[in-house]
């Protein structure tokens, strides 16, 4: 990690939390939008995709970090992609072992983790410059942040679009589902709503800080 002279590197815990919330891949960095929009039709799909991506992130960052002194910069992208594709293949087989219905639900999006810019971005920006443990911690934080983001969108879409959460009906048989929430536009609506909520919270917090400063 490149640091300014006189600054200390962030602790592992700070790196973990950073990916989880402060630099959340979905709501702050807006990365991996393809699975974010396509897979978040239910909470369980969202969490499954998030955890699959977390595994690929952590495992590939660990391996890239281990090999960082062996991989010349000229062939680094090719090497990273091979490593990422390997762990995506492992996840692909793993999900088939866990549940074929889940595998069916996630469809081609498991394979498309290879092309998720979040994974290659972490490899290039962090794992290639840091030791294995720090890379895994950072990647796990980012992966869980991605999972959290997907769940926040998938949970709302399932709740409004199907009247259920994790497949459990919450509003009874007379609830008329908003089918649009399960369709692709629903992903954009919910994403936009969450971004609006965060912007409002941030604006109120900044307003409060400004008022405190003036008062002091």
């Amino acid at each position: 990690m490149n640091l300014l002279p006189g600054t200390n590197p962030p602790s592992n815990w700070a790196e973990f939390l950073e990916g989880l919330w402060q630099r959340n891949p979905v709501f702050v960095m807006v990365l991996g939008m393809c699975p974010t929009m396509a897979i978040t039709t239910s909470a369980i799909n969202a969490i499954s995709m998030g955890l699959a991506t977390t595994f690929v992130l952590a495992a590939s960052c660990w391996m890239i970090s281990l090999l960082r002194h062996v991989i010349p910069k000229e062939v680094r992208i090719a090497t990273y992609i091979v490593i990422i594709a390997t762990f995506v293949t492992v996840v692909d087989y793993g999900i088939q072992v866990i549940s074929l219905s889940l595998y069916e639900a996630l469809g081609a999006y498991i394979k498309l983790i290879v092309a998720n810019c979040l994974v290659l971005g972490r490899a290039e920006a962090h794992a290639a410059r840091n030791p294995p443990f720090a890379s895994v911690v950072n990647a796990t934080g980012m992966g869980l942040g991605f999972t959290l983001g997907l769940f926040m969108i998938g949970g709302v879409r399932e709740l409004i679009g199907m009247g259920s959460l994790f497949g459990i009906s919450l509003f009874g048989p007379h609830y008329q589902p908003w089918v649009v929430m399960i369709l692709p536009p629903g992903g954009f609506f919910v994403m936009g709503l969450w971004l609006m909520v965060f912007a409002l919270v941030r604006a109120r917090r900044d307003h409060g800080l400004a008022a405190q400063t003036q008062g002091a």
């Binding site: 991989i71 000229e74 062939v75 090719a78 293949t89 087989y93 088939q96 074929l100 399960i182």
Partner: protein, 227 residues
Amino acid sequence: MSEAAPSAAETTPSGAMIRALGIAATICGLIIVSAYEGSLDAVARNKKIATERAVFSVIPGATSVREFVATSAGIVPAGPTLPEGGVKFFGAYDRAGTLKGIAAEAVAKGYADEVRVLYAYDPEKQVIIGLGVVSLHETPGIGDKVRTDRDFLKNFVALDAHLTADMKAVANAIKVVKHGTKQHGWEIDAISGSTVTSKAVGKGIRDSTAALLPKLLPFVGKLKEGK
């Protein structure tokens, strides 16, 4: 003015690049092959369970499933390779080994993707007696009604699939008609608003029955004996 050539210290030797790619490829190859070998049995077991569940859902009372291939020369147990012109199907049996019904997969292009269904066939009455969805990616709330719409599923309680007297073709090809206009036993009443998916289900069953039944029915006695 010519550019200064990069010094030897700045350039990476070709051997180092090839070595790095070789190391990464070897390690990754080992991981992939290990994952494949390690998951092979479990995936095969899961697929078998999923197939059995799908067949049991369309043929109530069945407790075991056997996979066969119907060919123009007769019925043979399914193997790793499909004989030329062969059509796969499932025989469902109860605990006593009595044939409870036959199930086969039907596939056709729907609105979003392929619609894959499993239908149950009664060889005694020569009718389709059940329908289950294997794979469906149609629009939620619209195309996916084929799973749950009671009126649509009633089409498959006794859908006519009789063969001609010479047993060489289905007497009346199964077809999907506009909602509320069904007149014959071989017609499927489409779901209003889900016509494309309804037609995909109908086309899949029509193609499957046309390919399977003329090869299956002349030899169905062998299945009843549980051989």
